[in-house]
């Protein structure tokens, strides 16, 4: 078999795998949509403003509500020291 | 005449400090079906002469007609096409790509021509059989013997059925047995109507009965060798 044919088979295989993974993902997404109604109710009822992703510091647990100075509030000229501060960009 | 060179001048780096005149008013003709030997020391202009006859580049001035086509007017692209159709090269060290198989090496000149793999194999197979290397077709060329390499080189030169074969010092690294075998192949090709041009100062070549004419190349000039 010529190399270009083998390559085409390889790319086709990758495309099939990508397609299968995407289709499976979409099916999962459809299942998750059922949960979105639950989350909407909770958000509305409890007035929630942030996702529970990082719980180490209040400015990463509630970035939407925290004031800009919270990462540096411990003492004058304090440096931000929580690892998640690296991952989250400062809110605008 | 298949090769006609008239007042050929070739200058490298023209107009610059390191300007060199490699060929100085060379006149040379080769008849169709002849076997010709170019004899000369290193630096004599032999390689340049082979490059012009081999349609690698045109001369600086003069008239060079190879297989009916004048080189001076040809743009590089058409020169390449003309070379593909007209010339088969056999190099000094054979210049086979060692990691490609024997068959792949032989088919190499056909790849840029848009010929399908099946047709290429059909063109290469008779040559494999003719030169007795069919059993080595899938071997990496770097793993075959010197004699087999020589035959691969000849087969590759013939794959496009060119009318002219150019061999540059083909026996320089061969023992006498392989050298004789090479010359036998060249005589055979001559008998089939090919025009053979061999650049060599090996007495085995110059004294071979199949050679019709010997040209001496010295300091960029060519003369008939009557010795």
């Amino acid at each position: 078999m010529r190399p270009s044919t083998l390559y085409a088979i390889l790319m086709l295989t990758l495309a099939i795998v990508a397609g299968a993974v995407t289709v499976h993902g979409r099916q999962r997404a459809l299942l998750e949509m059922d949960s979105s109604a639950v989350r909407d109710s909770l958000t509305r009822a409890l007035g929630l403003t942030d996702l529970c992703l990082a719980t180490e510091a209040r400015y990463t647990r509630h970035p939407a509500l925290t004031d800009d100075l919270a990462p540096f509030m411990d003492y004058p000229a304090a440096l931000e020291h929580f690892p998640t501060g690296l991952f989250w960009a400062p809110p605008r | 005449m298949l090769v006609e060179l008239e007042n050929i001048i070739k200058i490298y780096n023209q107009g610059q400090v390191n300007e060199v005149m490699a060929l100085d008013r060379v006149n040379l003709t080769v008849a169709k079906g002849a076997m010709v030997c170019l004899k000369g020391p290193s630096g004599s202009g032999k390689s340049t002469l082979l490059s012009i006859i081999g349609c690698i580049y045109p001369p600086t001035s003069g008239r060079a007609v190879i297989a009916g086509t004048q080189l001076a007017r040809l743009p590089d692209r058409f020169l390449t096409i003309h070379r593909r159709q007209t010339i088969g090269f056999i190099f000094q060290h054979f210049n086979i790509l060692p990691k490609l198989s024997v068959l792949e090496n032989i088919m190499l000149p056909l790849m840029p021509l848009g010929i399908s793999p099946g047709k290429r194999r059909a063109m290469a197979e008779p040559l494999l059989e003719r030169f007795g290397i069919d059993h080595r077709r899938n071997f990496p060329a770097g793993e075959i013997s010197g004699g087999e390499l020589q035959r691969v080189a000849i087969a590759r030169a013939l794959i496009n059925a060119p009318p002219i074969i150019i061999a540059d010092e083909p026996t320089a690294h061969l023992d006498s047995e392989l050298s004789k075998e090479f010359l036998r192949s060249m005589r055979q090709l001559k008998g089939e109507g090919k025009t053979i041009i061999i650049a060599s100062h090996d007495p085995l070549v110059t004294d071979d009965g199949g050679v019709d004419m010997i040209y001496a190349v010295r300091d960029g000039r060519v003369s008939q060798d009557v010795s």
Partner: protein, 393 residues
């Protein structure tokens, strides 16, 4: 046409064979390239998914939230402010909320405690078990899955927190949030507002913030402006601002993104330098032989192009698929420690990665195009290989 396509297929065949002949070197290039794309794609898929989750989940977030600020920090807001806010035209309802954090010294976790005066009838929808407390009921708490595990309750349904004066405040677990709301409630304890004030030692005249519902959602900005004017010492946060926060938080300007990009860039520089550092004598010889056998310079360039492009395309495919699997099936395993840092309570990140054509195009442009440029442009040097150099031996 047929000859043209056959020629290019032949060149592709030669390029692929050439890649295979140097499989050791090309395999390492492939692995590095795949890893770089995997890293970039994982970051892109994760942040896109988080942003989508935030936008989907927080579309019902309060229209306006009012905080009281002193010296740039948030302090408790007087409940009496609600009356002033109610007077602003366009405001439908104002709700006081008490919330804060409790640190569990045993496990080192931070728990969010939220207390409200009223709870709509939601029990069956949102709770895996139990119910919210009834009106007037004291000492009840609905907790998230993470809190249930963190407090080590098992089958027990009571726990205590310390008040500021170090006395214990007992709670009875009246309900547990279901796992489908983990992204919101994993670390949450919900209780009645009086219990919340009791726990935090807050006076009845104060609240943590005030939630404002407006009559017309299109007038949120206008109402927010009016509230700011009426209450100058407050910070007014609107729903669009909350959603915008998440757009910024999960952006390429974060530190982690910069590290990913710099690593990728460094890897590329190494790759490109290797490729651009010139042809080996073997490569020069090969090109010279091809040229003398009738291959033209564009044909030789095409070999180099196909070598790079074929490798890059497979690496791109493998990298993006691996990234998708990494985010969608392994919960962003490699990023979790950075994303969650010192967090003890870590909700699962079961996202379905959101992949758009724009994202793939961006990744392709960032990863593949520079690699092609770095490998094909120096290949122009092959044009400098003299055709007759093979003759000279």
């Amino acid at each position: 046409m047929r000859e043209f396509s056959e020629k290019h297929l032949n060149i592709l065949d030669y390029a692929l064979s050439s890649l295979w002949r140097r499989k050791g070197k090309n395999l390492s290039v492939f692995l590095v390239f795949t890893f770089v794309i995997f890293l970039l794609a994982s970051f892109q898929f994760l942040t896109r998914s988080l942003l989508d989750a935030a936008q989907a989940t927080l579309r019902q977030t309060p229209e306006i939230t009012i905080q009281y600020m002193v010296a740039g920090r948030q302090e408790s807001i007087p409940v009496s402010y609600a009356a002033k806010i109610k007077d602003v035209f366009g405001v439908r309802k104002v709700t006081a909320r008490v919330w804060g954090y409790k640190f569990n010294e045993v496990t080192g976790s931070n728990i969010t405690v939220m207390a409200l005066a009223h709870f709509p009838r939601l029990d069956q929808e949102v709770l895996a078990e139990g119910r919210f407390g009834a009106k007037g009921e004291k000492g009840w708490a609905v907790i998230g899955q993470g809190v249930l595990d963190d407090l080590g309750l098992g089958s027990r349904r009571s726990f205590s927190f310390f008040r500021p004066d170090l006395t214990l405040k007992p709670f009875t677990v009246s309900g547990v949030f279901g796992p489908e709301s983990n992204i919101l409630t994993y670390d949450l304890v919900i209780t009645g507002i009086d219990d919340g004030r009791d726990l935090f030692g807050m006076e009845a005249t104060l609240a943590t913030d005030l939630l404002v519902e407006v009559v017309n959602p299109l007038e949120i900005a206008t109402v927010a402006r009016k509230i700011s004017k009426a209450l100058p010492g407050t910070r007014v946060v609107t729903r669009p601002q909350i959603l915008k926060t998440y757009e910024a938080v999960f952006s390429w300007r974060s530190g982690f993104a910069a590290i990913c990009l710099l690593s990728a860039l460094a890897a590329f520089i190494i790759l490109a330098w290797d490729k651009a550092s010139g042809m080996s004598p073997e490569e020069r010889r090969e090109i010279s032989i091809l040229k003398i056998l009738g291959w033209q310079t564009p044909d030789v360039l095409m070999i180099r192009f196909w070598e790079s492009f074929a490798l890059a395309l497979v690496a791109f495919g493998c990298g993006t698929i691996l990234a998708y699997v990494h985010i969608g099936y392994f919960q962003a395993l490699l990023f979790r420690s950075v994303m969650m840092g010192w967090s003890v309570l870590r909700p699962g990140l079961s996202f379905v990665p959101v992949v758009s054509f724009g994202d793939l195009f961006l990744l392709f442009s960032l990863a593949v195009l520079p690699y092609l440029a770095a490998t094909v442009i120096p290949a122009w040097r092959c044009a400098s290989v003299a055709t007759d150099s093979a003759l000279r031996g």
